[in-house]
Structure formats: structure tokens, C-alpha cells
């Protein structure tokens, strides 16, 4: 892992009307890292991800990616800069086929890169088997694979994954996390939001813990795994 900072959030504040969801958070991601953001329901994880992608606009603070402040850029231009987002709840295009979903993933590329698609099919062979099937008829786990695959189609430098384990059978979660590791090893930097702290920390290099809109804790995965607060809050001890 090199030390260049690829991505940095500074003092980010986001609100929904009068409700402040993020109260000034800061975090960094280095090139090639897997960084995880942990936190309970309503902590602000999805808000963070959506603000990075500019689906939500920040009230104040900056989000720097390779020297550009994303807060000044329109949502549809983010993917072109090299950040791809697999959103919470998957949001696959249900009435389109698997293949059409992947094509849309490559929308920003103008030309479909067949090698990337082959790689996605290698990572998730299920998708290849079901490429003519409507995405809405896939199982939850398969839809998650599709959401990740679709995000990869734009050849991102950084991949945002919002709760890829949400509502998915444990065995599939394992398989998906294994492939996230594989994706990271291919050189894609990963920012992973999870409630499943144990699985996320096993995978990640570092992590941040969000608590009602604030960073409560941060450190390497080993540090966080060993931390008592994490043990109590997320790893089911003393529950």
C-alpha cells in the first residue's frame, strides 16, 4: 500500500431539511486501500456515500478526489472521474436484463469494454449464466453481484459499496466479500459501508466508525477488532 491519499473528506456536513445527518466528518482513503465505514442504523453511512456521488449536496466541507472537489461537480459526472457507486439496496434496473444492466454500467465509457465484462463474468459466473434474465427476477445475492458488476463496468479507480451484505444469505455474503478482495487486489480502491463489522474488518485495511453523524472511532482493522467499544457495539459480545 502506498501512502498517496486518493480521496479525502474534510468537515463534511449534510442535512435533510432541519435534520443534520452528518455533523462534520473527515476521512481519508489511500490508493489501493480497502477502507470500511461501520455504524449502526441511521448513523449516516448511506448519507456519506450519496454525498460522495453528489446524489446529495453537502451543506459544507469538501470531498477531494485526485485534486478535484467533488462537491462542485454534478452527480452524473462523478463516474467519469473514476468513482463508481454500488448503492444501498442494490438498485439494479429490474425490468432490464443482466446484460443490459452491465451495458448501462459502461454508459460513461461510450464504448463497451468486453474485457471488463468478461472479468465481471469471471468474478460472478452466476451473472453470465443469467445474462438474458431480467435483473428483477434474480435472488438478492445475485442482484448484489450485479450491482457490483455494474459498478465495475465503468472501470473505476475507487469503488463505493454500500452494505453489500444487506439481506443476503451468509454463504453468499462470504462469496461476495471474497470477490471484493479480488477486486481490490486488481488495483481498485474500495470504500465499503457495512453493518456487518466482523466481515468488513476482516477484509478492510482500515476502518471508521460513524455514530449519529460523527466519526466516533478510527484505526486499522486490527485495532478496531481489538477495541472494546467495537466488541460491545458490533461484534455481539456483552449483548
Amino acid at each position: 500500500m502506498s501512502n498517496d491519499v486518493l480521496f479525502e473528506i474534510k468537515d463534511l456536513e449534510v442535512s435533510y431539511g432541519s435534520i443534520t445527518a452528518l455533523k462534520g466528518i473527515s476521512l481519508k482513503v489511500h490508493k489501493g486501500e480497502i477502507v470500511t465505514i461501520l455504524g449502526a442504523n441511521g448513523a449516516g453511512k448511506t448519507t456519506t456515500m450519496r454525498t460522495i456521488s453528489q446524489l446529495l449536496k453537502a451543506k459544507s466541507g469538501s470531498i477531494m478526489f485526485k485534486g478535484q472537489d467533488l462537491t462542485k461537480i454534478a452527480a452524473h459526472k462523478i463516474v467519469k472521474l473514476g468513482i463508481s457507486h454500488s448503492p444501498e439496496g442494490r438498485r439494479v434496473f429490474g425490468i432490464l436484463t443482466v446484460e443490459e444492466n452491465l451495458m448501462l454500467g459502461a454508459f460513461s465509457q461510450r464504448k463497451l469494454d468486453r474485457e471488463v465484462r468478461s472479468w465481471v463474468y469471471e468474478l460472478f459466473p452466476r451473472l453470465k449464466e443469467r445474462r438474458k434474465q431480467l435483473a428483477g427476477t434474480l435472488s438478492g445475492g445475485e442482484q448484489q453481484m450485479l450491482a457490483i458488476g455494474r459498478a465495475l463496468m465503468s472501470k473505476p479507480e475507487m469503488l463505493l459499496l454500500d452494505e453489500p451484505s444487506l439481506g443476503i444469505a451468509p454463504i453468499l455474503v462470504k462469496a461476495i466479500f471474497k470477490q471484493i478482495k479480488e477486486i481490490a487486489q486488481s488495483g481498485v480502491t474500495v470504500l465499503l459501508v457495512e453493518q456487518n463489522a466482523k466481515a468488513a474488518l476482516k477484509l478492510a485495511d482500515r476502518g471508521y466508525v460513524l455514530d449519529v453523524g460523527k466519526i466516533a472511532l478510527s484505526g486499522t482493522s486490527e485495532e478496531l477488532l481489538a477495541s472494546e467499544k467495537i466488541q460491545e457495539a458490533y461484534l455481539g459480545k456483552k449483548h
Binding site: 446524489l55 452524473h76 462523478i78 457507486h85 448503492p87 434496473f93 425490468i95 454508459f107 455494474r150
Partner: protein, 298 residues
Amino acid sequence: MDIFLQQLANGLTIGSMYALVALGYTMVYGVMRLINFAHGDMVAASAFVGLTIYTQVMGESASLGAVVLIFLLSAGSMAVVGIILERVAYRPLREAPRLSAVVSALGASLVIQNGIMLIWGPRMRIFPELVPQVYWDLGGVVISLIQVIILLLSLVLMITLYLFVEKTRMGAAIRASSIDQDAARLMGINVNSVIALIFIIGSSLGAIGGLFIGLYYRGITFNMGWQYGLYAFIAAIIGGIGNIPGAMLGGMLLGLFNAFIAGYVSSTWSDAFTFILLILILIVRPTGILGERVAEKV
């Protein structure tokens, strides 16, 4: 048998016009979940714009070139009106409650309708004879050149639209935006451009529908947008609102239905029967004939 074939021909003609207009309602609804009530009035406005271009610009010439230009200019001007309408009446209300947008749509409808009345007056005007009155008598069934042109041109436009939406990159952007706008943005799709494009396509098709109405019925009035707009809107619902092939199918079915009611029962009952048909279809298929795709969308 003669009545049947005659009403079949009439029904396909009327149906093409409904279908063209219905596409505007359905495409806007598909992406924005909004009924653009002003669409019917733009259809009416197009007929008046066509009339004025004919008298003022073309010097009352109905040469092929002039007619083509009248169509292009009318469609173009309605495309511009459509873009302005979206900017002024709908875009500022995208995040607002549904009802605000409905009120805005009704307001826009009244503004355009009153605008037509102010410019062209409240009385019925006669649409120019842009197509020669040629008729063919096919053993008791009379078909006019106008009917053939309306049917063929509508089919060409609808097939082109279908291929555009299904096969092109922009078409994929339209489909993605109508399923999930945020997910579309994450793919790099500029949803604002897609919405502008939808208004351009929908308004120009509606404009051509308006010119066809003028050609076919001849008498045009400032408030005819409500009547034809309502029928086209019903056609869109019958086909499954939000669904493009649905609007085409719904338009054709409703046109045929109206023609057969007029042929076998009485044209005065046409409205009542249309609503009965609508209600029956909605009871059997609440999402319209091809509408299950829409139901999944939400």
C-alpha cells in the same frame, strides 16, 4: 362487412392520431411520474401554428416542400414550447409534493389554451387542405389519401421511436431514467438532458398528431386539446401508462373501438362507451394492457 372494413380503416386512422399524442403523455409519465396536462393543448396549438405557417409563411402553398416544412416547423416550435414548459412549470417543482406539479400542469394547460384563444380567436378555424382530396373506392370501402398518409407516417414515426428507445445509447438512458433516476445518475446519465429530450420527442409527436387532427377533421378550435388530449390520455392508460409500445397499442385500440361504436351504435355515445371500456380494462388489468413493467418500476 362493408361497415366493418370502413370502420376498420377509419379506426386505424383515428387510432394513429391517438397513439402519437398518447406517446407524449406516456413518455413524460415514464420518466417523471407526472401527467403533463398541457400536452393536449400543445397538440391543439400545433394545428393553429401549422395554419399560420401555411397562410403567413408559405403563401398558402400546399406543394410537397411547403407541407413538409409546415410539419417540421410546427413540430419544432412545439418542441421549443415543450422545453420551456418543462423548465418553467415542472423543473422547479421536481422535489415538491405531487399535487403541486398537478396544479402546475393544469395551470400550464389553461395558459396555453387561453394563449391560443387570444392569438387565433375563440371561433372554429378551418385547417388548410394540405393534402389533395383523393379517394379510392375499394368495393364499397372508401379510403382517402389523408388516411393513408396519417396511418403510414404514424407507423414510421412509431417504429423509429421504438428502435431509438430500444437500440440506441440515448434510448438506454431514457429507459434507465424511467426506472430509477438516481441509479441512472450513478451510471453517468444526465437525467436533466433525458427529461429535456423526452419533452422534445413527446411534444413533436403531439404536434404532428395535432396537424393530423387538422387534416382529418378540418375544423380546429382553441379548446380541442382537452377533447383529443383526454382520449389520447385514456389510450395511454389503456396501454399501460409509462409504457411506449403500450401507448401505441392503446391508441390504436381506442381508435378502432371509437370507430366501431360510431359505425354500429352511434357516435353520440362514443364518450360514454370509451369510459366504460376504460373502466373495464382497468378492472381486469389495473396497470393497463402492457403495464406490468410500470408496476414493477415503483
